[in-house]
């Protein structure tokens, strides 16, 4: 599939999303669909660093919440519109990504993961103590009437469709470019990659920055979605677990894997929340993840490849 075709498919998905909005489905479907699409963005973004470069980030909540709180800050200060919030949220998290990129100079493997986890805890503590964005008691957003759409659910759903398409196209482009090949080499063996001419530091910084950007982008519309943001919801551990589990289940080496994982697990969680219990959804993730790590460590895409005899 050429890049032109991929772009066409992307545009078609966005168009389909807009069409879907006008079909008059149960509003809850948009509400749930938003979460699944948000996880497509998160899993795809996580995978650019975790899957392509092999640096496991446990700090997804930090990046997601930084996007959300950048948005809150800009709403408080300037009443900034949604596109500005998304861009600013992405850029702030990209900066944080660049920062953890430099951590990779000294920290590898599990130590890098622990540092990113600690980052999330530190950032949450800072936000809890920052009164301007709501502090520990949280931030309540009063939404004006939704522009262009009948309600915010439909608008945000459409926005998330577009963001998911952009994130997936970006991941696909990176994977198939010289950057993706270099990242795969450093994932396999960083020292050998460097000795074969791969500028490992520069590629790692690229991966952490782009990954951070899209995680922030996923978080920026969050205040509009929930209208009430508190640190414990924005920094929820669910994001760290899901961001890791979804690509692992779908397959980490290609752009398709995180999409498959996010759609499957995200949908399963939404269904379980409604039909069984809202606490059960993480249990599903845990069980499925354990099964995959043991039985199909290369995820669904790896399993498919093996079954097709490649």
């Amino acid at each position: 599939m050429k890049t032109g075709w991929a772009l066409l498919v992307g545009v078609a998905v966005v168009g389909g999303g807009i069409l879907l909005v006008n079909l008059g489905v149960n509003p809850y479907a948009y509400f749930a669909g938003y979460v699944v699409l948000q996880y497509v963005v998160i899993a795809t973004a996580w995978n650019i660093l975790g899957g392509y470069a092999g640096y496991v980030n446990f700090g997804t909540p930090a990046f997601f919440a930084l996007g959300a709180y950048t948005a809150i800050f800009l709403i408080e200060a300037f009443q900034a519109p949604l596109p500005v919030l998304i861009l600013a949220g992405g850029l702030t998290s990209a900066l944080l990504g660049l920062g953890i990129g430099y951590l990779t100079l000294r920290l590898k493997g599990v130590f890098f993961s622990i540092a990113t986890f600690a980052l999330s805890v530190v950032l949450q503590t800072l936000i809890i103590n920052w009164e301007y964005v709501g502090g520990a008691k949280g931030f309540t957003l009063i939404r004006p009437s939704a522009p262009f759409f009948a309600n915010w659910g439909m608008l945000l759903f459409t926005v998330m469709v577009a963001l998911a398409v952009v994130a997936v196209l970006a991941a696909r482009f990176i994977e198939r470019s010289w950057i993706g090949r270099g990242l795969a080499a450093l994932r396999d063996n960083e020292e050998a990659a460097e000795c074969m001419g791969v500028p490992t530091l520069r590629l790692k910084l690229f991966a952490t920055t782009v990954s951070g950007f899209f995680l922030g982008v996923a978080g920026a519309p969050f205040p509009y979605y929930v209208t009430y943001v508190e640190p414990s919801s924005a920094f929820n551990l669910d994001y760290a677990v899901n961001a890791l589990a979804m690509p692992m289940i779908g397959g980490t080496t290609t752009w398709v894997g995180p999409v498959i994982g996010a759609v499957l697990l995200g949908t399963a969680q939404q269904v379980a929340t409604v039909t069984i219990s809202s606490e059960l959804n993480l249990l599903i993730v845990g069980v499925v993840l354990v099964l995959f790590v043991v039985l199909a460590p290369e995820g669904i895409t790896g399993l498919a490849r093996r079954l097709m005899g490649r």
Partner: protein, 242 residues
């Protein structure tokens, strides 16, 4: 010294309080076959880690083709032509044998033309020359020990080195396999590639090298032709004790 491809002057490297290299000087002429020997822990691998850029240095300087490279990151040294193979093979495990060669071809040999059409023929030519073309589509996990060493050399070749540093490419191989690797290295040298060979298999180093440098405890203790080195009492002492 003029005409030297690689000049290492007064190179010092410390690990905490341990002096791994103490003002080591080493000159390598273009086209030369140099053997680097020494007992375990004498600093051979540290020296080539400093030359290839995997380690920073604590003193001294390194010139390649007359230009200082002391502070260059490793990947830029590779692009200039200093390429090493690893003692324990470090293949890219998720890629096929051919794809393993595509990385240095793209990033080192053709670093300035990213995105140029994949050099499929170039990779296959190298694999053919080294006798791995039948394995081109396998993952490294499916290779034997000697094939793994050959892959290591083939991948280094794909980076188009001017100076190839072979770090114990033959350890653990059978005598026939050692001859196999030696033949490959001789052929590369005939093509104009300067080679530094680090090796514990004396038969191989002595046959291969035009000149041998001996390290012991971070010092250069001897230098000369293989015949001179074999007769050198200091070398005997370093290896066998008094």
């Amino acid at each position: 010294m003029t005409g030297a491809l690689l000049e290492v002057d007064g190179l010092t490297k410390r690990f905490g309080g341990f002096l791994a290299l103490d003002r080591v000087t080493l000159h390598v002429k273009a086209g030369e076959r140099l053997g680097l020997i020494g007992p375990n822990g004498s600093g051979k691998t540290t020296l080539i880690n400093c030359v290839s850029g995997a380690l920073s240095t604590d003193g001294g300087r390194i010139l390649f083709e007359g230009r200082a490279i002391t502070t260059l990151p490793a990947h830029q040294r590779t692009r200039r032509g200093i390429v090493r193979s690893f003692q324990i093979p470090k293949p890219f495990t998720s890629m096929t044998v051919r794809e393993n060669l595509d990385i240095p071809l793209e990033y080192a040999a053709h670093a300035r033309s990213h995105g140029a059409p994949a050099a499929a023929d170039e990779a296959m030519d190298i694999l053919r020359a080294i006798g791995l073309e039948a394995k081109a589509h396998l993952r490294p996990a499916g290779l034997t020990q000697i094939e793994m060493r050959k892959l290591e050399l083939a991948r280094a070749m794909a980076a188009r080195p001017k100076l190839l540093i072979s770090d114990e490419a033959m350890a653990g191989l059978s005598s026939a396999e050692v001859d196999d690797i030696l033949a490959i290295l001789f052929r590369l040298n005939e093509q104009g590639i300067t080679i530094i060979m680090i090796e514990h298999i004396m038969r191989a180093v002595m046959r291969f090298s035009e000149r041998v440098v001996v390290l012991d405890a971070g010092h250069r203790i001897a230098e000369g032709t293989p015949e001179e080195i074999v007769r050198n009492p200091a070398v005997e002492k370093a290896y066998l004790g008094e």
